[in-house]
Symmetry: C2
Subunit: 295 residues, 2 copies
């Protein structure tokens, strides 16, 4: 199977699983469920589900187990986007090429959509018959909760807020991103592996190294695209970072050095996968996909 | 042990456990952790932790297991208060006798405090060494996630928003409250029982009946107090329901009928506890405590 075929098949399965794990609009409260589906379905690159599926290839995961984990990750990610776009945060009107939830609905609905998507992520992880054993449900909940909370994604968002208009050093910038986006990307990789045969501590450590490189590359690429791509390509408002005076890799080390850094991080990601041999192929290809966006 | 002694001892343990399960202000991001602690510690009646502990008496729960469950419930409850108080929701300035989080800090911080408290609830439920077995961690996560999400608390909030200024029937009002507050109170009772020896389906059904009566009584009492008590006693702004033109039991069936309903629901709660004999004592006493606030 080529990478493109694997991607297409995986994305189809993820979309079907998201459909399944999101309450239908025939379930009350209908408007809230409609807004949750508006936020999650029909858009997004599904980077976390792809990483989760790719890591799942290392440990013989069952299809439904890795799908439940993927859906939980994507719901968690989308909740963070919905809340980040709200007026009291980044105040953004465009996301994944569509009006943001608070624009399409209203602020209160956007707040509740995010809140309910976070809960729904844990519903998916612990749903009866989702293919995950009790111990896996508990372990994946632990991974996802830590990655999403105050020492992960939400914490990174808090650091981000405090950094607006302030000059960050490069280590400070990395700390922020390690929390804000890195923690959930790392969780995606770990959860994929943990959804199958129990991985060794060494293998989890190797995956952490891979995820650290990919997570940072992801952010560097995002910073580059914010200045080089237009809103139509991004599906969100371009140039927001400079406009909001947010520190980025481009503002701190410049565009060319940022490009070189992304390439180096891609190499680091490949190196971390050495213990897995051919089984690490999809993870390696995903690292390339992320880095190659800016080359 | 008298009920008062049991209450005092339980509340002390809950407070200590919350201290333990909330990240310290020495952990980055310090300001977010300070705000989370501001929201959770030093206030609140801790109704859900008390119900959880009382139900735990039925199934020989270990102390740390029921404490972890109680903390998760209280964090989930407090996150909902923090978000509900925000300007785009109820826009309230006073909670538990203190300025609300968005007043004390800012809107963005209040948003993140709520988001991170929800995650932290699941961290507590799945923390290593919290006294809950894998299967219990998974089961309690399932209970809490369903009770908090779009078919529970967040869903009830969405129905509440849509009902402002609209005339609700009594069944509609009950549906709203069964989601908005009832679901989490029910989860408190069930999680307490599930944190110990596996309860029978019959016993869980009896607990559901108890929780349904107590949950409704809780809301009826809240509606009565909103018109009969002052802000100092409530620790939150009194008279808000009428001011916001929100449907309440008092507005639909009147004050006297509301008082009678609360008393009847207290009797229903007692009746549901029959299968448990003397072990149901604390749950019975808690039902009385809730109902007696208005008598």
């Amino acid at each position: 199977m080529t990478f493109e075929q694997w991607m297409r098949g995986t994305l189809d399965r993820v979309e079907t699983a998201l459909e399944h794990y999101l309450p239908g609009t025939n379930v009350a409260p209908a408007r809230l469920h409609e807004a949750m589906r508006y936020a999650v379905l029909g858009g997004g690159k599904r980077v976390r589900p792809l990483l989760c599926h790719a890591a799942g290839e290392l440990t013989n995961t069952g299809a439904s187990a890795v799908e439940a984990a993927s859906c939980a990750l994507e719901m968690m990610h989308v909740y963070s986007l919905v809340h980040d776009d709200m007026p009291c945060m980044d105040d953004d009107a465009l996301r994944r090429g569509k009006p943001t939830v608070h624009i399409q609905y209203d602020d209160a609905t956007a707040l509740l959509v995010g809140d309910a998507l976070q809960s729904q992520a844990f519903v998916a992880l612990t749903a009866d018959g989702n293919g995950l054993k009790d111990a896996q449900q508990a372990a994946l909940t632990r991974e996802l909760a830590l990655a999403s909370g105050s020492v992960g994604m939400a914490g990174g968002q808090a650091i981000d807020l405090e950094s607006v208009g302030r000059k960050l050093s490069r280590p400070e910038l990395e700390t922020m991103h390690r929390n804000k986006t890195g923690a959930l990307l790392r969780a995606a990789v770990r959860m994929g592996a943990l959804a199958g045969d129990k991985p060794s501590a060494d293998n989890l450590a190797a995956l952490d190294q891979y995820a650290a490189a990919v997570g940072l590359a992801f952010q560097v690429v995002d910073d580059i695209l914010d200045v080089t791509a237009d809103s139509a390509r991004l599906g969100k408002t371009a140039g927001k970072d400079a406009q909001n005076d947010k520190p980025t890799y481009v503002s701190i080390i410049g565009l060319e050095a940022s490009r070189e850094l992304a390439v180096q991080l891609g190499r680091d990601a490949h190196a971390a996968l050495a213990p897995f041999g051919a089984r690490g192929q999809r993870l390696a290809e995903l690292a390339d996909l992320i880095v190659n966006q800016v080359n």
